[in-house]
């Protein structure tokens, strides 16, 4: 903290970190909330590592993680359970940030990457691979990514007319998504029941069969993308004030918007490639994060932590608590939706 700069009253307690040329201004409440969420994430992760058909104690888990234990326990924890836990954590954070970017960009609390057609497009691609080509898992992932990206590009191009304006993007996204949604319903309808059910299970999003390889590659991509998102967060917040206001503050609106869309879609795409479309985290995590941190606009860090916690907890419930193992996407919907509903409910009561 330096003293010669006049203190500004932001209306809430603010933490300023300065190191040479870089200064970061953080809100105390956000920092505390993120720290608490991180603790919750770590606790849930340890719990998930302990639970399974071979139960372990917290001590065993920790010693396996630190490498002091190298026997069967090490194999169970590091080789079998850790990839899944790491995947849930990283992918959840990615989805949370992706949703926050879109909600901020389109200034609409209902927006998520699905708005640009990515989700429906990737499901269409996957369905075609499963039902028509009858392809392998790699082909499935390729089909999903291809479908999602092609749809996102199509929506962007169709919405482009002397620049892309948020509202037009939403409407075009609705139209294209609806068409693909219909196509998906039709494909499911025409398929035989077994294939249709396995396609629907993929479509629900599942962390079954996530390997270290996927976690490392996906995690690296996501780390880079999160960094980019962090760098773009300033223009993003300024654009929440409106295109003109942002431009007058020196933000180059069109390139910034394109970059944010690319980052948001790429985050979702990475997750979809590894685990299928895990629904709803991108919609609900920014909302929950924003309400917990009580920030004025959409903020990325709380969204990321809430996303990670939500995904991790959902996967735990899907695997160990549900009577039959379920795809994680089904539980995220129930858990996230339920919790956001509770927050809204208490918020509404408080305002009485």
């Amino acid at each position: 903290m330096s003293t010669h700069i006049p203190r500004v009253d932001f209306g809430r307690r603010v933490l300023v970190l300065r190191r040479r040329r870089i200064a970061v201004r953080l809100q105390w409440r956000s920092v505390v909330v993120c720290a608490l969420l991180a603790v919750a994430v770590a606790g849930t992760a340890v719990l998930a590592l302990m639970t399974g058909s071979y139960p372990l104690s917290p001590g065993q888990v920790l010693s396996a993680l630190t490498g002091r234990d190298t026997g069967i326990v090490h194999d169970i924890v590091v080789e079998w359970r850790l990839p899944r836990v790491a995947a849930a954590l990283v992918f959840g954070a990615a989805l949370g940030v992706s949703g926050a970017v879109f909600q901020s960009l389109l200034r609409n609390p209902l927006a998520d990457p699905g708005i640009i057609g990515f989700s429906q497009g990737s499901y269409t691609g996957a369905l075609i691979v499963i039902l028509v080509v009858n392809g392998t898992y790699v082909q499935l992932v390729g089909g999903a990514l291809l479908g999602g990206m092609a749809t996102a590009v199509a929506v962007y191009v169709l919405a482009h007319r002397r620049g892309v304006q948020g509202f037009r993007l939403i409407i075009v996204g609705i139209g294209v998504s609806a068409m693909l949604g219909s196509l998906n319903t039709w494909l499911i309808l025409k398929a035989d029941l077994d294939q249709a059910m396995s396609a629907a299970a993929w479509g629900a999003g599942s962390l079954n069969g996530v390997s270290w390889e996927q976690v490392v590659i996906g995690g690296a991509c996501i780390a880079v993308l999160l960094l980019l998102a962090g760098m773009l967060s300033r223009p993003m917040r300024q654009m929440e004030l409106g295109d003109d206001a942002a431009a007058s503050q020196g933000v180059r609106v069109s390139p910034a918007r394109l970059a944010l869309i690319l980052v948001g879609v790429a985050l979702t795409a990475t997750v979809t490639a590894a685990s299928g479309p895990i629904a709803f985290i991108s919609l609900v995590a920014p909302q929950i994060g924003r309400r917990l941190a009580r920030t004025a606009g959409t903020t990325l860090a709380p969204a990321a932590f809430v996303g990670a916690l939500l995904c991790l907890a959902s996967d735990y419930l899907a695997q160990h608590v549900a009577p039959t193992p379920l795809p994680v996407g089904i539980v995220t919907v129930v858990l996230g939706g339920g919790y956001l509903g509770y927050l809204l409910f208490t918020e509404a009561r408080r305002r009485l």
Partner: protein, 347 residues
């Protein structure tokens, strides 16, 4: 709050047609709808000559064609008309109410409630016939919408943002439960994938008549609140300043749209997109005036539904594509073309 009102270009920046042109457009829309009604009766896996159609409708004459018309095509056309009107009007209501262009009638949990109820009926209670589904769907839609309203509102009424988000949440929770049930119960999955497609085929008129009184009530309510809804578009404070009673307006509008969307979903299954798209188009034609938007939506929505249904019959003849799948393919290109051509209006 401000996040929802997606108005980058202020309203009123485009030229709004005068009353005479609005009325002319309405007449044109009505003529188009009547033509489509006639075509819907004539066109099918076998085309039937107009004279035979006339005979079948207004004279008692026996024969295969007459039978096909009276027992299949006519009911189907009537169902399409009724469902279309309900979907269009409910879409216009929800968008006016929430001031959100992303809002569709399903957003308050109507579709989620209906599909959850049907899944439970099929998967757990073993109901198998479509008429059985219908009442489950209707009840599910009404109950869930009431639940959403109860959760999302305070004593002073509630902001549309909270109601919409609550609807999304409740819908998601029910959707997850439904999906879990479906993925573990192949029977339910199989039944639901057909119900989910949305269709107006094979709905006997006897199951449609009981819903009509609900629709009539909703129609009256909708036009009764159209004036206050105009004021609401300016924001809550300005609306109150103009003497609008917020809570009453919202409650009446929600009752109307729940009856409409719930009834339509009960009859035909979830037909997405009609309720979302048609009000946008209506708004672009007539400008921000709810009563006209309602009137146009009532005529345009069944037209979209009937065009889609007719196309679904002839594209893959002799087999058919359910109308719920075709609507988006017919409507989306129109929507995209319009939003590119017109200056998009946020409300």
């Amino acid at each position: 709050m401000t996040a929802l009102a997606l108005r980058q270009d202020g309203p009123g920046t485009e030229t709004v047609p005068g009353p005479r042109r609005r009325l002319l457009g309405l007449v044109v829309a009505l003529v188009v709808l009547v033509v489509l009604l006639v075509l819907s009766v004539m066109i099918g896996s076998t085309a039937i000559a107009p004279s035979v159609v006339w005979d079948a409708l207004f004279r008692s004459s026996a024969g295969i064609d007459q039978f096909a018309i009276r027992d299949f095509r006519l009911p189907r056309t009537i169902v399409g008309l009724v469902v279309g009107v309900a979907l269009g009007l409910s879409g216009a209501l929800i968008q006016a109410l929430t001031r959100n262009p992303l809002a569709d009638p399903g957003i308050l949990g109507v579709n989620a409630g209906a599909s959850f109820a049907v899944t439970v009926a099929v998967g757990l209670l073993g109901v198998r016939d479509a008429q059985g589904y219908m009442w489950f769907a209707f009840a599910g839609a009404l109950i869930v919408t009431l639940l959403v309203l109860a959760l999302g509102s305070t004593r002073q009424g509630s902001s549309p943002v909270v109601i919409v988000l609550t609807g999304v949440c409740v819908g998601a929770v029910l959707g997850g439960a439904r999906e879990a049930l479906q993925l573990t119960n192949p029977d339910a999955f199989d039944a639901m994938r057909y119900w989910n497609a949305g269709s107006i085929v094979g709905r006997p008129l006897e199951v449609v008549w009981p819903i009509l009184p609900f629709f009539a009530v909703a129609l009256i309510l909708a036009f009764a609140v159209s004036g206050p809804l105009n004021a609401l578009a300016l924001g809550d404070e300005l609306a109150v300043a103009q003497g609008v009673r917020l809570v009453r307006t919202r409650v009446l509008a929600v009752i109307a749209l729940t009856l409409l969307a719930g009834g339509a979903t009960a009859i035909a299954g979830p037909i997405a997109f009609v309720g979302l798209m048609v009000p946008h188009v209506a708004r672009w034609i007539v400008g921000p005036h709810q009563r006209w938007i309602f009137a146009y939506s009532i005529l345009l929505a069944p037209s979209l539904l009937l065009v889609s249904d007719i196309l679904g019959r002839i594209v893959m003849r002799p087999s058919e594509i359910p109308v719920g799948i075709v609507t988006a393919f017919v409507g989306a290109p129109v929507l995209v073309a319009l939003v590119r051509r017109k200056k998009a209006s946020g409300l």
